[in-house]
Point group: C2
Chain length 322, copies 2
């Protein structure tokens, strides 16, 4: 199934969002325009703008009114991606970063800052200060999640609560805000805003769990990333946490997960333990529960075709392989 | 002269701002609270909050009303400092280890993002969306300035316009916004806001020129930084630009400035050329001109004691040695 079918009713509007995105990353500084455009061309599903537009359908839909929000949501997402790319590896020579390494980090940081500031400039144009308020609050919490991911790296003592804390901030908050604010800027009543916010939260949680599962058992070509990258970076995800206190395999799993330098067979062995021990399946069933909650929120909304589309999107998250 | 005398009338209010700053960098993520508190304890002049409070004196002064702005201004400033540290391989700032030196690049980036998002969250609480609008626009331009500093590094062909473009974004914009928004949130009439904004711009330009001069001829103990750090990093400042097209010394100066790895005697030689050739003095006279413009703006304001304090601050920028 092509994911674009899910967004059929907003397809042409999403194209306009895409064009606006390109307009907004233009800068009188050539290098910033270049790096930002490069990020945009790298693609992406534009999920957050899509959710904002879909949410807008539940009241007075106006692309013009939704546009600054839709663009801002994608810019924030891009900003987090580019800051994630900055690495700690010490590309230094005699204590001084090589020009190449230094240039890479410098440009990534300022490009991210630029995109983030742009996004808040966009939403500060709404007369309703709630939009900027929600997005800056979400941004604060997203940073907290990022730091928590660093703090908990390689820590096999963490629990489910730690994991849910992190993925809420990493993914669910911004998707939730996309749904919430799409309704807000369309002037929807509170009960609609609330249901869409909760839908986005639950869908976002499921989305990240699925993402974490695919990082272990996905097809690397379809998924577009190297398999096992979380394990390698010490990011401990749901299947691992679920397995770690189980039976006789857990000691070995723990040992591998804690290793700072894992080789290919370490990674393969850990994945095998997670598959055979049921960690993968159990994680997927938790994801499924979030999707059921997301669908339940939809029942509170008016019966319009968009509601069905959002229902199918939840199905798609469950089935997705990339 | 103690710079605090200049801020006598807001001294106790600045102490409350300091306390609020400490409150606001608290986070449920221990490491973020730690890195942010570390940055705060490293000190700083809190110039931007001070200017916001002073500007507030020209209408209905209310610390309560000014507080979110004052805190936000310092948080933005701190965010840029912590991101600068990632970039410039600075391991100390004001004599103490930077966040980067203690915790690494990733943590520095997310701490900066956290502080920046916090600051925009604070200003999004004003009903008047102009505050968030101005601060996010300033932030966008500050990023452009940072990138332009990278692009123009070691480039001896750049001109005065390039330099002024950069220092406006590096320093003047945020000081200008501090003055402007202090008046805005106090409900001051437009002519006051405008004059204060222009005062802040001119003062900020002079402040950065002086800073750049002190980087060459300051007392490293008083200044708190190693002398010649701009030269070492390839940041080309006003005295260098003024000298580079002059007489027979310019070829040698150009050659040194372009060198990626300068030794101590290179730096000393460049500084000697800048002093003897008049580059330093000429830069200071340009700074003086900005200060005269700043003072002229003050004549448009009501004659209250704060106006005199702002006049003396301009004198202090001219005379400062740190």
């Amino acid at each position: 199934m092509n994911s674009w079918l899910l967004f059929a009713e907003i397809k042409s509007d999403l194209k306009q969002v895409e064009a606006e995105l390109h307009q907004h990353v233009k800068s009188d500084v050539a290098l910033l325009a270049e790096t930002s455009a490069h990020l945009l061309k790298a693609g992406g599903k534009r999920l957050r703008p899509a959710f904002a537009l879909l949410a807008g359908k539940f009241n007075n839909y106006s692309l013009k009114q939704l546009m600054p929000l839709a663009v801002a949501l994608e810019l924030i997402h891009m900003a987090t991606l580019v800051h994630d790319d900055v690495i700690d590896a010490s590309y230094t020579r005699r204590g001084i970063p090589t020009v190449k390494a230094n240039w890479g980090n410098k440009v990534s940081i300022h490009t991210g800052d630029f995109l983030f500031a742009k996004s808040l400039l966009l939403v500060s144009q709404y007369e309703n200060p709630a939009v900027a308020r929600v997005l800056s609050r979400v941004s604060v919490e997203m940073c907290q999640g990022e730091i928590q991911q660093i703090v908990t790296a390689f820590d096999t003592e963490q629990n489910l609560k730690d994991y849910f804390y992190r993925i809420k901030r990493k993914t669910a908050l911004l998707i939730s805000a996309s749904c919430q604010l799409g309704a807000t800027v369309s002037g929807a009543p509170d009960y609609i805003i609330k249901a869409l916010k909760a839908y986005g939260h639950n869908l976002g949680m499921a989305f990240q769990i699925t993402d974490d599962v695919l990082d272990l058992v996905g097809d690397s070509d379809e998924f577009g990333k190297q398999i096992g990258s979380d394990l390698r970076q010490g990011i401990i995800t749901l299947p691992v946490i679920l397995m770690i206190n189980k039976g006789k395999t857990s000691a070995l799993l723990k040992e591998i997960v804690r290793k700072k330098n894992k080789n290919e067979s370490d990674v393969q062995e850990a994945i095998q333990i997670l598959q055979e021990g049921g960690g993968i399946d159990q994680a997927l069933s938790i994801s499924h529960r979030y999707l059921l909650k997301a669908k339940k929120e939809l029942t509170k909304l008016p019966k319009i075709p968009t509601r069905d589309a959002m229902y199918y999107i939840a199905d798609f998250v469950q089935a997705r392989k990339f």
